[in-house]
């Protein structure tokens, strides 16, 4: 109650948890299975090339009147589409390579954590798979999609979700009519809703139903990943994917680890006001898809308000639109192969 005296019911609560926030989160790498097999030299070279731009990002933050900028670094490991070598071998290899290149990996994140439910992790970090089945982060984000309406759309238009596809405009209509004895409709081109003169129409696959369940697309998981870094996801008001230190003995199995591992004890918070991704131009189409998705995610206004109030309190100006809080540097990071074809 506002004034100390009064009546309240706990089931009527609307509060959302706060998470600690850095000024900037820098992604030092998003590694897919084929690249993860390579030896230490590949990674040293990768981090060395990234290091130049990381330094630039740091000085940019300092130039923005931040005396002691809180910056955290992270890498994303694809253990969803591929099966990398076990954590006990891979994690020390990555950390050592980064150090040799003069970088510190603060957080190491499992990509499958975006797709699988993470409800159990917070309960008992030692046994992350024991929690009750909850929602995956991808499902939380999917629920918050508010589709970009084409011109002349009222709320009467039924949601066209449930197809697993999301676009930024109007698809070319089907040319077959389904009404008896009516003329078939002519072909029309697709159109981007916010087109400037000409359309750049994008149609993004979010997921596909496979024999053993739903397979989320790389773009969808990367969109979840960016929202997670920005500290904008909650599950029933609770924070999700809270970072945990790695267990003293690294397991053989990735699924036995919490989603977000804090590798560096002295790291600034994982979540940040802004997120920067430094990656090879090869990933540009994926990141364009990520942006198309993020343009259509309605983040909980309570969480957005909380984050922007705190930014204001720290004297930081933050774009109102979530998608504008994500920055990219597309640079040559060495001979990456990226995701497996198919």
């Amino acid at each position: 109650m506002r004034d100390g005296t009064g009546f309240s019911e706990s089931t009527a609560d609307t509060r959302v948890e706060k998470t600690p926030l850095s000024h900037l989160s820098v992604e030092l790498g998003h590694f897919y299975a084929p690249d993860l097999e390579l030896d230490e030299h590949f990674f040293i070279e990768h981090f060395r090339r990234i290091g130049v731009w990381f330094a630039a990002a740091r000085s940019a933050a300092e130039n923005a009147n931040l005396r002691a900028p809180r910056i955290s670094t992270c890498v994303l490991i694809d253990d969803y589409f591929g099966l990398p070598e076990p954590p006990v071998a891979l994690i020390p290899k990555l950390v050592a390579a980064a150090r040799k290149a003069g970088l510190e990996i603060d957080y190491l994140v499992r990509e499958s954590g975006c797709a699988n439910n993470v409800a159990g992790v917070a309960r008992n970090p030692a046994e992350p798979e024991t929690g009750p089945p909850g929602l995956s982060l991808a499902e939380l984000v999917e629920a918050r999609l508010v589709e970009d309406p084409p011109p002349n759309t009222t709320a009467a238009r039924p949601p066209v979700s449930h197809t697993g596809w999301l676009c930024n405009g109007q698809r070319s209509p089907a040319t077959e009519t389904h009404e008896a004895m009516k003329r078939p409709t002519a072909w029309r081109p697709p159109a981007e809703n916010a087109a400037v003169n000409h359309s750049i129409f994008a149609d993004i696959e979010l997921w596909r139903e496979e024999a053993d369940g739903r397979l989320w697309s790389c773009a969808m998981l990367a969109a979840v990943w960016q929202l997670l870094r920005l500290g904008l996801l909650r599950d029933n008001g609770r924070s999700v994917a809270v970072p945990h230190p790695p267990p003293p003995d690294l397991p053989d199995n990735w699924s036995a680890l919490p989603m977000v591992l804090r590798i560096n004890d002295r790291a600034a918070p994982f979540n940040a006001y802004r997120a920067m991704t430094v990656c090879a131009p090869l990933f540009l189409p994926i990141e364009n898809a990520v942006r198309t998705i993020l343009q259509q995610v309605a983040v909980d206004p309570a969480v957005l308000g909380q984050v922007s109030d705190r930014a204001k309190g720290e004297g930081i100006s933050l774009p109102l639109e979530v998608v504008d809080r994500i920055e990219y540097l597309f640079v040559d990071t060495g001979p990456v192969r990226g995701a497996d074809p198919g």
Binding site: A156, E179, A180, K182
Partner: protein, 309 residues
């Protein structure tokens, strides 16, 4: 309760009988509505004598509700209160204690269509919303193996309509051609049972929810035929017996029958509601016809008539 009115052939008197049954139910105090799902030729407006919509409404009817959700800004289809909108004076006086009598008309230029997922979803929503409001919703379907029939079979299999009683009336004339045709519509390949099972219905449950209604039945013993010569009456009786055997052979016999409507010239030629006024004051329609409608209305609502064996 949802009631689906089907027939294999046109001209069975399906629509006019259905309208009259709905009307009798309203008179007895039930809130009822009539949905014109005869997409090819929506004519319920003329049976209820709603002047502007004798061939359906210009927009907002059943057809556009199902197929053009984008322009239906209210999410509700057009409805017509028969008690206030009918051009027939004797209908416009809603008797005290009677229930609502609502018509959901079709669209003028509607046609048959292949149901897509969205139309199915809309159909489920519509039936759900009307079941909130009405004791009985009668859905008049296009004749034959129609998309309308397929659509409602799929809709009633939807989990959102589980627990809502759904009953089927299959209308057929009492003739040598109509009896096997009606049986074919229900039991034949790609008939109601076939399509229903494919949509997820339990065959026995669905079959128990289907009853036949014989129309234009000539009763050799009725007073109307009292002028016939004995030979004619005997011939009629023979025919009737033959038809009875034919019906039994096709599983359209007495056990599967809910009721029968006698041949009535007023019904045949005027295709309109028969009011008590037509029977009593004007003496143009037969008492037996109105009794048959009352009987159908009563049996439709009586659970014991529909208990599965």
């Amino acid at each position: 309760m949802l009631v689906f009115a089907a027939s294999d052939k046109g001209g069975t008197g399906r629509s006019v009988t259905s309208c009259n049954v709905v009307y009798r139910s309203a008179l007895s105090g039930s809130d009822v509505c009539y949905l014109d799902f005869d997409f090819g030729s929506p004519t319920a407006g003329s049976i209820f004598q709603i002047n502007d919509v004798t061939r359906g409404v210009r927009r907002g009817g059943m057809h556009s509700y199902l197929l053009e959700p984008d322009i239906q800004t209210t999410g509700e289809p057009h409805r017509i209160d028969v008690w206030t909108q009918s051009s027939r004076a004797s209908l416009r006086q809603r008797p005290p204690g009677s229930g609502k009598l609502m018509l959901f008309p079709g669209d003028q230029d509607g046609g048959e269509f292949g149901p897509d997922k969205e139309a199915l979803r809309r159909c489920v929503h519509l039936l759900q919303a009307l079941d909130e409001e009405f004791d009985m919703c009668l859905i008049d379907l296009s004749a034959g193996r129609s998309y309308a029939t397929q659509l409602v079979l799929e809709a009633t299999a939807d989990p959102a309509l589980r627990g809502v009683a759904a009953r089927w009336l299959v209308f057929h004339r009492w003739t040598r051609q109509h009896i096997p045709a009606a049986a074919g519509l229900v039991y034949g390949k790609d008939g109601i049972l076939d399509v229903g099972v494919r949509a997820g219905h339990d065959k026995d449950e669905l079959q128990a929810a289907i009853k036949f209604v014989r129309t234009a039945v000539v009763d050799p013993d009725s007073i109307e035929l009292s002028g016939l010569r004995p030979a004619q009456v005997a011939w009629l009786r023979d025919c009737d017996e033959d038809l009875g055997q034919l019906a039994a052979k096709h599983q359209v016999g007495r056990r599967a029958m809910l009721g029968e409507v006698p041949l009535d010239p007023v019904l045949q030629w005027r295709e309109q509601l028969i009011s008590d006024n037509d029977v009593v004051a004007r003496d143009i329609a037969n008492n037996a016809t109105v009794d048959a409608f009352d009987d159908l209305a009563r049996k439709l609502a009586a659970d014991e008539e529909w208990a599965s064996l």
